[in-house]
């Protein structure tokens, strides 16, 4: 009997089918790798198992018995513990307090510190962290150890299944080794582990089986030993990579936008160049400064030091409107939080930015019929699938929302287009269309910049790549030098060099 099993698990959000009849099993003492592109449904699945979301249909079985979780606490009590990508520890409390938060042993009305520390030591020992003093404040620990403390807390609930969501995203190489040692120990104790990661090497290092999701569906389940990276990527993407990506030969023109020594509270001395006719990729892990760089360029982050030049002339945008007026637009990765206006129809969203720079406006009055015509034109050009341009963007799928974001940026008629994760969380079909659009825009002589966390799309679409880490540009890669190894090397090297 499998330890944990899902049967035809389905989850819909308004306008999106996030999970489509996913059946998955984890056995005791097994590490199951869960892979898929961004938006494939991994997080949704994890959140359902962790009791954050309720499934729309299907069931979860733990040791053969159907279970239902109304809240994360219920999943924990049943023995399913999740360690999310963002750590949830409280930095100014001690390790012991964090591990047993909400369950501190008491003696009368007071906390029984001696017992608490003894219990914590036992848990830490279980995962091989004997060296950590339970009284240390979590904020003083290195990130890698904090991750292990988080796992200790999960284990302390007597978890039978441990879910790790991208656990290595902020870890260095030695820290990853430690984490793997912990996982192997848990495995030996008969705990089932679901391991979510973008990094395929890790999948091969630690997992026994791989479960591949694409667009919310299971596309393959295979023993790790019987497959290879190429096969997994092909399953994840669902087609041959050469068809998906759109990189064309570069015909770079003059420099459109350039920064020299751009610095602020986070960015350190960033110098980059974007040429006409070129697609430039920016790669970095979360918190590497990629979003900050684009926002600093358009004046959404202030104050900045250093220089920005647009077509050779020094400029200093104090507000995104000034950037848009000068032909530089930015499209945020956070569609809901920073880009679109939910509850508002497609056409108004599409022209919001354009009317700020005076397009479709006469004497302060927006010319609605001209706006609507432009929205229809872009809806056709971008192959937008919406009931009509009067539809509320809230109800569109992620991919179609992203197309509205692109229309919104393009209706400004910019020369320099800064796209922050334009393909995050959208389906492969829409991704392909966006890649083609970027290539087209470059062919028209625009400077196109896109931030990406996905190596294949970066390699497939960018003529040039800047890698960033901790607010710095760590490398500039051109043409054949843009390889997975190179990109990762330059993101990690700095991290290691800077870790004491």
């Amino acid at each position: 009997m499998p330890l944990l099993e899902t049967r035809e698990l389905t989850k819909t959000f308004p306008g999106v089918l996030a999970l489509d009849r996913v059946s998955l099993t984890v056995n005791a003492g097994e590490v199951l790798g869960l892979v898929g592109e961004n938006g494939a449904g991994k997080s949704t699945l994890i959140k359902i198992l962790g009791g954050v979301y309720a499934p729309t249909a299907g069931e979860i079985r733990l040791l053969g018995r159907p279970v239902r979780f109304a809240a994360p606490k219920e999943a924990l009590d049943a023995g399913i513990a999740v360690v999310y990508q963002e750590l949830s520890l409280i930095p100014h409390l001690s390790v012991a307090e964090n591990v047993f938060i909400n369950r501190l042993p008491r003696r009368g009305a007071l906390v029984d510190w001696r017992r608490l520390h003894r219990m914590t030591r036992a848990v830490l020992e279980e995962i091989g962290l004997e060296g950590v003093d339970p009284r240390t404040r979590v904020g003083e620990l290195p990130i890698g150890v904090r991750q292990s403390v988080e796992i200790a807390r999960a284990i302390s609930y007597r978890a039978r299944v441990l879910l790790l969501d991208e656990p290595t995203s902020s870890l260095t190489e030695p820290e990853i080794e430690n984490l793997f040692a912990v996982i192997r120990r848990l495995k030996a104790q008969g705990i089932g582990v679901i391991y979510v990661s973008h990094h395929l090497e890790e999948i091969f290092d630690i997992t026994d089986r791989v479960h591949v999701l694409r667009d919310g569906r299971t596309v393959a389940v295979m023993p790790t030993a019987e497959t290879d990276e190429h096969a997994i990527v092909a399953k994840m993407v669902g087609r041959d990579l050469s068809q998906v990506y759109a990189r064309q030969t570069a015909h770079p023109g003059g420099v459109a936008l350039e920064t020299r020594g751009l610095s602020d509270s986070f960015l350190k001395d960033v110098s980059v160049r974007f040429r006409r006719g070129e697609v430039v990729g920016i790669y970095g892990l979360l918190g590497s400064g990629r979003t900050e760089l684009l926002k600093a360029i358009i004046g959404a982050r202030r104050p900045v030091r250093g220089e920005v030049r647009l077509f050779g002339r020094p400029v200093r945008f104090r507000h995104p409107r000034e950037a848009a007026r000068a032909g530089v637009v930015y499209s945020s990765e956070d569609r809901k939080g920073e880009n679109l206006f939910f509850g508002v129809p497609v056409w108004k969203n599409a022209t919001y930015q354009a009317i700020q720079v005076g397009r479709f406006v006469r004497y302060g009055v927006p010319q609605v019929s001209a706006e609507r015509r432009a929205a229809v034109r872009y809806a056709e050009r971008l192959n937008l699938k919406a009931p009509s341009i009067d539809a509320d963007v809230y109800y569109l799928s992620g991919g179609n929302q992203q197309k509205v974001c692109l229309a919104k940026a393009l209706l400004v008629e910019p020369e320099v287009i800064l796209l922050d994760e334009p393909t995050r969380g959208i389906d492969v079909g829409a991704k392909t269309e966006i890649y083609q659009l970027m290539a087209e825009l470059a062919a028209q002589g625009k400077a196109v910049v896109f931030v990406s966390s996905e190596l294949p799309e970066l390699i497939g679409n960018a003529h040039r790549v800047y890698t960033m880490a901790r607010g710095r540009v760590t490398a500039e890669l051109v043409g054949d030098a843009i390889t997975e190894e190179n990109v990762l090397k330059y993101c990690l090297e700095v991290e290691e060099a800077e870790t004491p």
């Binding site: 358009i298 995104p320 950037a323 679109l340 206006f341 919001y352 009317i355 302060g364 927006p366 009067d390």
Partner: protein, 315 residues
Amino acid sequence: MTRLRSLLQSSEFVVFLGLLAIAAFFAANSPVFLTRFNLLNILLQSSIQGIVAIGMTFVILTAGIDLSVGSVVALSGVIMALLLHAGVPVWAVLLLNLVFGVLVGVFHAFSITKIGMAPFIVTLATMAMARGLTMVLSDGKTIFNFPASFEYFGAGQIGPISVAVVIFLAYALLAELLLRGTVLGRNIYAVGSNPKAAALSGIYTNRVLYFVYIVSGISCALAGLVLTGRLDAAMPTAAMGYELDAIAAVIIGGASLMGGKGTILGTIIGVLLIGVINNGMNLMNVPPFWQSFLKGAVIFLAVMIDSLKNRQREG
């Protein structure tokens, strides 16, 4: 077809039906209710509340709130009364009153955008400060007797219609045109709906906030002018509780306290609904304590219906 359906589903339409139902109830229970005199009276009573509620609509559209309006209306009245008694000409009093309204708005917007205070707290403080100043300046006494040219704005008639009503309707029309038809209007909705997206789209969000709080300040000054003229008196206790009626009217009219949703038309229907309830209950001799209770119950019902409707749509 879709237009008709969207009209039928709009919050304004639902509230309008509610207004008709309540009016029909009062008409059936009071012979006086449907008389021309009474209907014009309701309109007149509603006009001062309405002017304040229009300003409140702008503020609430940006997810803000202005609790100071009642006190600011009273303070505006007392300031004008003192200026008039000091012999300042009427045109100059009108101008200074306008400046006063602008300054109140600037103070609010500055505190919110530059200092980062919450609108609720800032305007709660000015509510108390303005009321206090009103008492100080008037020494707690009512000030009477103004030139006829001043009283015209509150008590004058154009044919059968009061000047106050004309001011209210003209102001409402202007506000509706601005909100519906201009880039500024659209930016006000944008700031309320998603301030971060608004700023990244190139909207100067702070300027928009200055604008809406200044509109609210000016609305209070205008309401102060009409109220003082109509009563021929500036009372330090005038316009007590206006903030709550104004907020209620805006919300009944379909606006959301979360911002980005609402119209002037909805607000006007909301104001009329409250006006009709007040008037009808007086005609039916409902005891004052019960009046307050019933008014609250109607507000609750109106907002409840709208919330249920929205929940259905999203769920």
